[in-house]
Each structure stands twice: as C-alpha cells, then as structure tokens.
C-alpha cells in the first residue's frame, strides 16, 4: 500500500529471454488448472461427463462475474470489499419488484449495484478515502440494507427470472453465456478502449496519470460503478438459479474468492495490470479446488486449511520475480 509497492512498468523482454520465474508467474494458473483437471480425470469417478462440466460452469458464474469487476478495480490499485453485500442487495430487490415485471425487477436490482458502485467511486475517486475503508463501510451498511429489504428467505416464482436461471440454448445455460459475454466485454474494455488504457495508466502511477492530464476521477468512478453493476448482475443470476433470495447468505465471503481468483490469475494487487484470461482461469481453479474437495468428501475443516495454504503458495509464486529483483 505504500509507494514502495508500486512496481515500475514491466520491461518488455523478448520471448526467449524470459526467466522461468516470470513464465510461472504468467502461466502458473493455467498449468495448475490443467494439472487439477488431469488429476480429477484420473481419480474422480464420473468427472468426465457433460453434467459435471455444465454444473461446474454454472457454479463458477457468480464468482467469475464478480472477479471480472474486481480485476478492473484491482487494476486501479484499489479493492472492493462490498461486492458480496451488493449481490445480496440485488438478490433481495428481485422479489420486491417482481410484481412490475421481470425486466423492471432485474433493472432495479442492477441499478442498485450501480448506485452502490457510484458511492464507492465518489468516496475513492473524489474524496480520496482509501478503497478498503470506503468499500468496508458499504459492505457493512449494504448487508444491513439487504436484510432490511429482504427480511427472510423469499422464493422467486416469476417464470422470466426462473428461465434466466435455469434456461439454456444449444445445451449451454444462459448464465454461462452471460458470464462469457461479460468476460468478452471486460476484455474489450481493458484491451481495446481508451478507458482501459487510462485505467491501467492510473493503476500503474496515479500521480503521473494525473500530471499527464488523464481524467483520473472519472475513470475511478466508472470502474467502481462497473464493479458494482457486475456484482449486482451476479446476485441476480444467483437468485434466478436458486429461485430464492436469502439476504443473509447471498454473496457471503464472495469478495475473498473473487480477490483470490484475480490475484492467482496474475493481476498484481499493486495495480497497473489487468489479466482477464488469468482471472477466468483463477476463478475456474478456485471452483475446481472446492469441487475436488467436495467430490472426495473432504471435510470443511481440511478443505479450508488446504485453501489457505494454496492461496499463500500461489501468491508466493506470483511474487517470485519481484522479490528476486530486490
């Protein structure tokens, strides 16, 4: 968080000159994912089946969509702890407004996410509050609001929302298609739009970006709004899939999974880079780790300890190069 942690721009080396550590940092997540898939193919019964694949893809969608928004925020050297609460708010609003039609309910839910993101963006971008504190406040208040809106678990019977959650086209569930579309959109924003260039520049060196005349505040606000929007979308999809909204449970601890997915995927917490493919692979890896532990009836206790060790080991490998440079 201090100035010292901001890495200088990565020098572009030719492919042949890249060190092993650097290669691991960039591609470790894909290797780990491939290894874990191979291990499962070998030892897990019924792993190679259409059903397993579909279920894993459906289950990863909320975390993946949140992680994509989180990757943008982390790219600006920020963090967003409020995503889980925003998911809960969105899910709790659906039953409240479903009487006005599917579109209205979903629209209001997603709008709420955008408003929450705008509050975070203004606090961080305009007032200069630290991202972790601004989004912590929103997280605490947001979870309370979701409980006030939702009250207790409410089931959702609206055919439109149910179709959104469980429908599919050509055997591919809608939720997976939506997640893929979001990933493509975020990739386009980061790699092909002016906004994406500005975001990366601000994350790399905010002061320099300011001096270069970039619209720092606007880009920061936009980024947190996008993150809030995507978190709300994830909340809507989760509610649609489970055909219920439980404001105390929806999105609980999702901020942790999302941040871990982004970091394992090679996006540094110090900002200045956004890795979309890595984030997707990171989210899939986290999902597959959880699933593998469940497939083999590993108790929660061991699973959590294993996840803790894996996360630290993964980040240790990610940082290998920068430590070596010191």
């Amino acid at each position: 968080m201090s100035d010292g942690t901001i890495a200088p721009p990565e020098p572009r080396t030719r492919r042949g000159l890249r060190t092993d550590a650097d290669w691991i940092r960039r591609n470790g997540v894909y290797v780990a994912l491939a290894l874990l898939v191979l291990i499962n193919v070998a030892v897990t019964d019924n792993f190679v089946s259409e059903n397993t694949l579909r279920l894993q893809l459906i289950q990863v969608t909320p975390v993946l969509i949140v992680a994509l928004g989180m990757a943008l925020v982390i790219g600006t050297e920020g963090i967003d702890l409020s995503v889980g609460a925003v998911m809960a708010i969105a899910a709790s609003l659906i039953p409240l407004y479903i009487g006005y039609g599917t579109g209205v309910a979903v629209g209001i839910a997603v709008l709420a996410g955008a408003i929450s993101g705008a509050v975070a963006g203004i606090l961080v971008g305009r007032i200069g509050v630290q991202p972790i504190i601004a989004t912590l406040g929103i997280m605490v208040a947001g979870r309370g609001l979701a409980n006030l809106f939702g009250g207790e678990i409410k089931s959702i019977r609206d055919p439109g929302v149910v179709a959104l959650g469980s429908g599919s086209v050509l055997g591919i569930p809608y939720v997976v298609l939506i997640a893929a579309a979001v990933a493509a959109l975020v990739w386009f924003l980061v790699r092909r739009s002016t906004y994406g260039r500005q975001l990366v520049a601000i994350g790399g060196n905010k002061r320099a970006a300011e001096l270069a005349g970039l619209p720092v505040r606007r880009v920061l606000v936009t980024t947190y709004v996008l993150c809030g929007l995507l978190a709300a979308l994830a909340g809507v999809l989760l509610a649609a899939r489970s055909q219920a909204s439980d404001p105390t449970k929806v999105g609980l601890l999702v901020e942790l999974s999302a941040i871990t997915a982004v970091v394992i995927g090679g996006t540094p917490l110090s900002g200045g880079q956004v890795r979309i493919a890595g984030t997707i692979a990171g989210a899939l890896l986290m999902q597959l780790i959880t699933a593998t532990l469940i497939f083999h009836d590993i108790p929660d206790s061991t699973a959590q300890i294993a996840q803790a060790v894996i996360v630290v080991a993964a980040v240790y490998v990610q940082l290998g190069r920068r430590r070596a440079r010191r």
């Binding site: 007032i127 630290q130 309370g144």
Partner: protein
C-alpha cells in the same frame, strides 16, 4: 500513499489546522459524547448502572482484539484473521478447561500467538501482501477450529467447577474482570506506543517503510511483533468470551475483523499507517457498542439498522477525516 499526516508536519500550524487535527483525533469522542447524552435523555433505561456496565462488558471482548489491530494498522498493515482467531481461541479455551485452568489460558494464547507469528513472518520476511496472508489466516484458523470441534458439531463446555469461569464472570468493585483487563491492556498499549522505542518504530514503519528501512530500523522484526501481538490478543478475547459464556461457541467471530477495523479507523488511526492512538481505538469500540445498545433500546428498530448505521457512520467519519487532513495541510 503520500497523504499520511506526520506529526512533524502538523506541529507548528495555524489555529485552524490545530483545531482540525484535534477534531480528527477526537472526532469519535465528540460523536460518542453526543450519542450518550441523547440516549440518556431519550431512554430511561440507558443511563442505569446495570446498562452501562453491560455496555462496558460487551465492549471489552471487541476492545481486546481492537488493541492488537491498532498496532498492526499503525505499522501500515492489516489483519483480517482476527475474527477466526478469536473463535479458535474460545474453542481451544473451552476444550482446555477440561484439562485445568492453566491449559484453558495457555493453549489458546500459544496457538493464536503462533498463528500471528507465522503470518507476521510470511508478511515481513516473505514480502507477501498482508491482505492476502491474513485472508488465508482467516480460512486457516476457521479450518483448524472445525477440525478440533468435529466440523463444528461439538461445543465444548467449561466444567461447572472450573476456576476458569471466574476469569470473565468475576467482578471487582461491581465491574466485571474483562473490563479491568481491557483498562490494564490499553494502559500498557498506550505506554508501549507512546513511551517506548518499539512504539516509535511502529509509527515510523507505518509512516514510511522505505525511510524506516534506510534509517536502519528493524522493520521486519517490528511487523512480526505487531502481528504476533494481534494474534495473541485475538486469542485472549476469545478465551475471555469462552470464560464468560462457559463454552466454546464455534460460530463466533464471523465478520468481527470488519467491526474491529471500523473501531480502529473511527478512533482516528489512519489506515495508511503512521498515526493514531490506542485511546482513540477504545473510543471507537465504545461508540460501536453504544450504537448497538441504543438500537436495542429503541426496540422498534430492526437489528439490521445497526449494520446500516455503523457502516454509514464509518463512511461519514472517514470523509470528515479526509477533509480535515486537507484543511491541515493548508
């Protein structure tokens, strides 16, 4: 971040800047006084001795944990594991109470201190972000808790004849022991922070880590000690809770790290590190607890309002702090 307000910078300042600095340091105290006054006049039951000592007792568990967090945040770090470590400490204490009072005290302190030590080593020596390491620590401690409690199915009870119960259920001068513990711990914490070289080093490391390193200060050791103390105090909070409830409740401490960080920030400790007081943290903890109590008094208000109001107060206070920091620099 370059916005850290160092002591030297703000010492010879205009009256306006000095007022701003005072407000930043003591803003929570002003709000606390206002809330307490308003509550005393609004609810007959608020100002009673019973209710006030209840607030103090309830706040003491959070306060112990917040003291450790204050040191970590002042050193420029963060400890997200305290909620899980708190719960782990409670379960270990209740389990240990079956094997004697000393086991109930030393086991949680040893294990939780060790978790803090390992986190500190990985952060300070391994150079990993505190955020990620203590996040993993959160999972690890919770996993360990589940492991020793049959996946959370077993709630260990403190034996009825155990002297361990006295630790948090006993009273001195009509005030519960935990409150006395907190007063002593914060007095010690204040002495360490403001009167020892370790305290000065914590602030220096939090203010500018690179500069502290160049000055030859033991940066890594300072951080390791801060995280170890945080682990120890989280364990102590858990063991006091276990003594108070006579059992090791496995579901405690979820989201506690956020409440603790809120209290520290409300108390005027800058999250960028390098500034703050332990007294401020105590005020922050009391403020959160009083809000909780007032919402219970209102009765018609759902307890969810407590989260909404606490979160909003946090945002308002940090916004004012930012604004005051700009005023000071003028």
């Amino acid at each position: 971040m370059t916005t850290t307000v160092s002591r030297e910078e703000s010492a010879p300042a205009s009256p306006r800047a000095r007022l701003a600095r005072l407000a930043q340091r003591q803003g929570a105290l002003v709000i606390l006084a206002a809330v307490v006054l308003a509550a005393t006049f609004s609810f007959d039951t608020f100002g009673t001795t019973g209710n006030l000592s209840n607030i103090a007792l309830q706040a003491s568990f959070l306060a112990v944990v917040a003291l450790g967090m204050t040191f970590v945040i002042m050193s420029g770090g963060i400890d997200l594991s305290v909620g899980s470590v708190f719960a782990l400490g409670g379960v270990l204490a209740a389990w240990g109470a079956g094997h004697g009072t000393w086991a109930a005290i030393l086991l949680p302190l040893g294990v939780c201190g060790l978790i803090g030590l390992v986190q500190g080593l990985v952060i300070a020596r391994g150079g990993l972000p505190a955020f990620i390491v203590t996040l993993a620590g959160l999972l690890f401690a919770r996993g360990l808790l589940l492991l020793i409690s049959d996946e959370g199915a077993t709630t260990y009870k403190v034996p009825p004849d155990s002297a361990f119960r006295e630790l948090a259920q006993g009273e001195l001068l009509g005030i519960g022991y935990p409150v006395w513990f907190v007063l002593v711990a914060f007095a010690l914490g204040g002495l360490v922070l403001h009167r020892t070289s370790y305290g000065a080093t914590v602030l220096a490391v939090g203010g500018q880590e690179d500069a502290a390193e160049l000055m030859g200060l033991p940066v890594a050791r300072t951080k390791v000690i801060a995280y170890t103390v945080s682990g120890l105090l989280a364990g102590l909070g858990g063991l006091l809770m276990a003594s108070y409830t006579s059992s090791g409740v496995t579901v405690l401490g979820v989201g506690m790290e956020l409440e603790v960080i809120s209290a520290v920030v409300l108390g005027g400790t800058l999250l960028t590190g390098g500034a703050g007081t332990v007294l401020g943290t105590l005020v922050g903890v009391l403020l959160l607890q009083v809000i909780k109590n007032v919402i219970n008094q209102v009765g018609s208000l759902n307890s969810n309002w407590q989260a909404v109001i606490s979160g909003t107060i946090l945002l308002v206070v940090v916004t004012i702090q930012r604004w005051l920091a700009t005023v000071q620099r003028r």
